[in-house]
Symmetry: C2
């Protein structure tokens, strides 16, 4: 979708401006430049136009239509007035300290305009033009000038290549929607203009709570996700941030920001470009690359981001997180329904989402029975059956009882609530409307969040809006209601986690540069040891005699392996011998030497790595990658030769604490084997977690890491043995 054409006719050109040194945009009223950018109290339109087909006209029209109460300054050298707003003939003539300039001029003019804006103290700009880095070589010069102008002017920008932004709280429509969506607690950041339309329509479909800021970020040449979530979370008007992202210019920076912001403000994210095909599609769109899907999913969750997999759940889940109380972790969900099928489906969906069901006490069940009569199910799900036909108030009665049961964390009401007057006849309406009002009062009084499904929600009965005004969301889909309940639980659990502080990541001291390419295993082990990772008993040897000496020293049968940066698969080239004793040592060393000589080309530069034989146990994988988006990421899962086929691996942004490593272990299938499954010994998972944490700390101190595989790590009752270590530098 193209949102109108830019002002690229020469007659509307902004006159040349003098270059000046950049200076930081001053704050106004204690607000930072970004604060002013996202909530403009004055707007200049640079490239204003009297032509209704132009964005420079549409934005003025949209601002007036939306009822924007602050100053509007159209800028056009031709002067006059547009839509009765007097036109300023140049940027230089703008009053001091305008909050936002919307720049509706083509790419090649943007840099100069920014510099002139900076000179007038303009805090921020929305840059619509495309033709920058997303055009590759063609846009390179424009991008270079833009970057220089950002530094020189100090003006903060959203864009370029954006469809604009919208602040519903101050009625600032810089996009030009035909009708402004309602003001409310959800802010939206997106890389796609069409996703702005989708969230606005999705909010309309569920009569959702509305929006504070909605911004298309475009190329994120300046303000990006990481910085803006901080700015938004500090706004009273924003209670949740919904993000559509096709990638991060600085993934690690986003993780750090999310980890802080999510403590106080929910972040809900839908990612595009998760599949290889989708990534290609996204590339053609914005020029940034999404990280590998599984890694991104893990590390974003780790830092408190609520992820949704479906585009139709982004807005509903954000609406719920923005308005609902949080459940107590450790307490379960009660389904309060007026029909068996809906209740069954809700319970199934809750179970699929991994949410616990409340186990209601006998006392609670007896109290429910007194309200509902003999015909109703008072277990969980509760089916109010015929009682609800009699009076809609039964839901509030039940909820008051449930809120006093210590097993209840959240109540999911599902079925026909509020619509008996539609299903049966109008005589139900007054009681239903009154019941909704009472439910709002009940929700205020209790700490248990209420989430409603009604199969009649699309009919939008007034009593549903009564609930919504009382911060109780009502959804037409059981699945969406459960997705919302699940998001509330997962957020509550994340907030309750106490992993302790991981060691500082990016400290300038104690960092190690990894040489390029594969390292000899002995070097890899020394690097890890130097950074605090226990690599067990082993020796490096240089010849048959020192191999023999090493085995003698270790005092038990050993594995002897070739130790070289030239050998990738040691076993495949006769480079591994097991059960080697003092007696067979020389012979084995010679065999390895001969094997190396027999390679094409011969491997000359090698030594031997000697380590005691390890008794059998569970074969695990511990490793790390340097993710192009998110930086060092530690891996744990099923190990051994079948590591790829097993497809059983958990990821965390490094470093992590042992407590966090315990959670990581629990995510994998192989964790079942660590608990003494069948013939396996029970493994000391605390020791394993400490090992994973030490690896995560080590890799976060490596510069030039490409990847680290410790595979297998053999875990048995008494030890964690890293059997083979492979470290590769960039």
């Amino acid at each position: 979708m193209a949102l109108g054409t830019l002002e690229d006719d020469a007659t509307a050109a902004v006159p040349g401006i003098d270059k000046a040194d950049g200076r930081p945009a001053p704050t106004a009223g204690g607000r930072t430049a970004l604060d002013r950018l996202v909530e403009p109290h004055s707007v200049a339109i640079v490239g204003a136009s009297a032509n209704p087909d132009k964005r420079g006209y549409q934005i003025i029209k949209a601002l007036k239509k939306a009822g924007y109460a602050h100053a509007i300054y159209p800028v056009n050298p031709r002067g006059g007035s547009i839509l009765d707003v007097p036109v300023v003939t140049s940027i230089a003539e703008l009053p001091d300290q305008v909050d936002v300039a919307v720049i509706v001029r083509p790419a090649e003019e943007v840099a100069d305009i920014l510099i002139e804006c900076g000179q007038r103290g303009v805090a921020g700009a929305v840059v619509l033009a495309h033709g920058f880095r997303e055009r590759g070589d063609q846009g390179a010069e424009a991008e270079r000038q833009l970057q220089a102008a950002l530094v020189e002017s100090g003006v903060r920008i959203i864009g370029p290549n954006t469809s604009g932004m919208l602040n519903c709280t101050v009625l600032a429509d810089l996009i030009g929607l035909p009708e402004l969506p309602p003001a409310g607690p959800v802010s939206v950041l997106t890389q796609s203009g069409n996703m702005i339309l989708s969230v606005v329509e999705d909010n309309r479909s569920i009569n959702g709570p509305g929006f504070d800021l909605i911004a298309g970020l475009g190329n994120q040449s300046d303000a990006g996700y990481a910085e803006l979530i901080g700015t938004l979370s500090a706004r009273d008007a924003t209670r949740a941030i919904a993000i559509y992202s096709e990638g991060f210019p600085d993934g690690r920076g986003f993780l750090d920001a999310a980890d802080r912001v999510a403590r106080t403000c929910p972040i809900v994210m839908l990612r595009g470009g998760r599949s290889a095909e989708g990534q290609k599609a996204a590339l053609s769109h914005t020029g940034s690359i999404a990280g590998a899907d599984a890694v991104a999913t893990s590390v974003l969750r780790q830092k408190g981001v609520t992820l949704v997999d479906r585009s139709d759940e982004l807005l509903p889940v954000a609406a719920l997180l923005a308005t609902a109380k949080l459940p107590d972790v450790g307490k379960g969900v009660v389904v309060l329904a007026d029909g068996g099928g809906h209740a069954t489906l809700a319970v199934d969906a809750l179970s699929r989402a991994g949410l616990p069901l409340s186990d209601l006490s006998d006392a609670t069940q007896a109290r429910l029975r007194a309200v509902l009569g003999l015909g109703a199910s008072v277990g969980n799900p509760i089916d109010v059956a015929s009682a609800a036909d009699a009076y809609a108030d039964v839901f509030a009665d039940c909820i008051e009882i449930l809120a006093e049961d210590p097993s209840v964390g959240l109540v999911l009401v599902n079925g026909l609530f509020g619509a008996y007057h539609i299903r049966f006849d109008d005589s139900f309406l007054p009681a239903e409307d009154k019941a909704a009002e009472r439910l709002v009062a009940v929700q205020k009084a209790i700490n248990v969040p209420l989430v409603f499904h009604s199969c009649y929600a699309d009919r939008k009965p007034d009593n549903h809006d009564t609930l919504r005004r009382g911060d109780i969301q009502v959804f037409p889909s059981i699945d969406v209601a459960v997705a919302g309940a699940s998001a509330l639980y997962k957020r509550a659990q994340w907030l309750a986690q106490t992993f302790g502080d991981a060691p500082e990541r990016a400290g300038g001291t104690n960092r190690v540069q990894v040489p390029g390419g594969l390292l000899p295993e002995s070097v890899a082990r020394r690097v890890l040891q130097g950074l605090g990772v226990s690599t067990g008993t082993w020796s490096a040897a240089t010849d048959a005699a020192s191999v023999r000496a090493a085995i003698a020293d270790i005092g038990t049968a050993c594995a002897v392996k070739v130790d070289s940066s030239k050998v990738v698969h040691k076993s495949d080239v006769g480079g591994v011998h097991l059960g080697v004793t003092v007696e067979t040592a020389a012979d084995v060393a010679n065999q390895i030497s001969e094997s190396m000589a027999g390679q094409t080309p011969p491997v000359i530069d090698f030594g031997y790595l000697v380590a005691p034989m390890v008794k059998s146990g569970v074969e695990l994988f511990v490793g790390a990658i340097n993710d192009p988006v998110f930086g060092p990421v530690v891996l744990f899962g099923t190990g051994g030769v079948l590591v790829e086929a097993a497809d059983d691996v958990a990821f965390r942004a490094a470093p992590i604490t042992p407590a966090e490593a315990m959670c990581m272990i629990a995510e994998t299938r192989v964790s079942k084997l660590l608990d003494g499954f069948r013939s396996f010994e029970k493994v000391d998972t605390a020791e394993l977690a400490a090992f994973i944490a030490s690896v995560s700390e080590a890799v976060s101190r490596l510069d030039g890491l490409s990847e680290l595989d410790i595979n297998p790590v053999i875990a048995s009752r008494d030890a964690i043995h890293p059997v083979d270590v492979r470290l590769v530098g960039k």
Copy 2:
């Protein structure tokens, strides 16, 4: 939800009726009794009432309101008229051959009423009363009488314990909805009354194509899913059947019926009670048990049933399958979008659903470029970008081009279609409306199905309804549109499968009764061999001498195992020795004998099983269970001691052909190892598939099977070795 109260006041009682011998309800106009039941051309209401709170009044009111054009016969001994319809004072006074009696009387009267209906030639009845088998012991007597009355009367019934049925084609509302949903191609069978309301509302939300029959099946004491899908699929008015099921009284019967019906009529199913908690909830509702979820998912798909996991996808997917053409299998999906974000999300969702993307030819791309101009992406996804702003017709232009590309199986249009007049201004409207009309003509002319997403679909613009009238569905959710596209592909693939005919399953000949409990392995192997399963080289031996002789005969080192119905875990009790030679045979046999004597209580009744040692290979699991719902089901997956932890198993209702077993193998993770992964030899999967098929055939001939585990089956380049066989009878 209770749908009004039944007529249980004594004054309205139906007078006693004489018992008579049952006789099958005659057909009328070539229609069977079930044909007449689902499309009644005359309706009697037994228990009609003049009280507006009673179902016996509401149904008459609903029939009149809906515009039911056939005869209505209220039955009540008090006579008179209800809503201007003359009341018949007894069933005996009904005219001959009434199609359907709605029985609005309590449980204890139903049996007598059915018998009297049978005497008057009534074809079918809808029985609303509850209090039968779903009440357990309390309802046992009523259930017994009901079953006897069904036999005696020959009347076919829906229910009892149902909220009724609705035939929109003949405007017969036997439920009493305030407004009849539109007549259309989707029929619905459900065990939940509330799910009737949900599908009706969901159809309303998407302006869906409407309904033929909607029936709540209740207890399915007579007509159930299996029979009704046959009846419905024979109706011209029904083009797809949507089912909400919480279990099957006769799962195998349903599979057989589905396998036939799905050839011509799509069946879409949402299951309730899939989780343990949901099963409990479902139990309290209808009294039937869902099969284990994974088994049910596999065998229903095997027989052509389209499964949906979300309640909000049942109706949309059924609407699409009822109206859309099917894609050619082997051709891919094209995403035709007017914005990058939507296109990326669609591609991601398609990828997640496992659907292929079309690889458009250079010629196609050049033709698209000619239409769309330089600014558009003409790969896949196609982004029409600014072109669409210019003229909405661009979509039809592109689709005509795409339909001629042999790589295109389906076109998913996504973005803002039909709503530029909402997003921008009304001036777009005439062109958009015309574009929709042209698209309908294009869809008629081409064999490539079109599926539309528009983020403005909830606004219900007229041009979307134009598309729908042309059998093109438009969805507000990208995810739902992709779920629909996926269902079309999977159905096309199922129809295209050629597995050949599996051997007859339930033949009375060549069946084997499995004794109860664990069988000695030698017996298990003989049973399987007798049914055509190759169990390899092995011998049963009775003492040390015959063990020695067996090994000598086999001519290589052997495994010697205890062979007894008393030993469950042979290894745990010293019952397995490996690498036994002629020399060590006697010693090993004695050791096993001593181990057995040392058990508590001592194992006396045992022999020896001797089999050659098997070289290493991939450890597989082949087995079978006798599913309580679906009967014999064959299993294949990862084997070995970790079989449970691996959680890698595929299921099929037995018997299957080798071709179908190949599909089963491909579903598992372990299949990656069969293709020569790393150090593993490539396995002859055709031979493996033949083995699985032979097991499936064997287990389908067993009576009294509880379970069969052949684990491990060791597969290497040259052979499939069943190493351990465990057969358990009920």
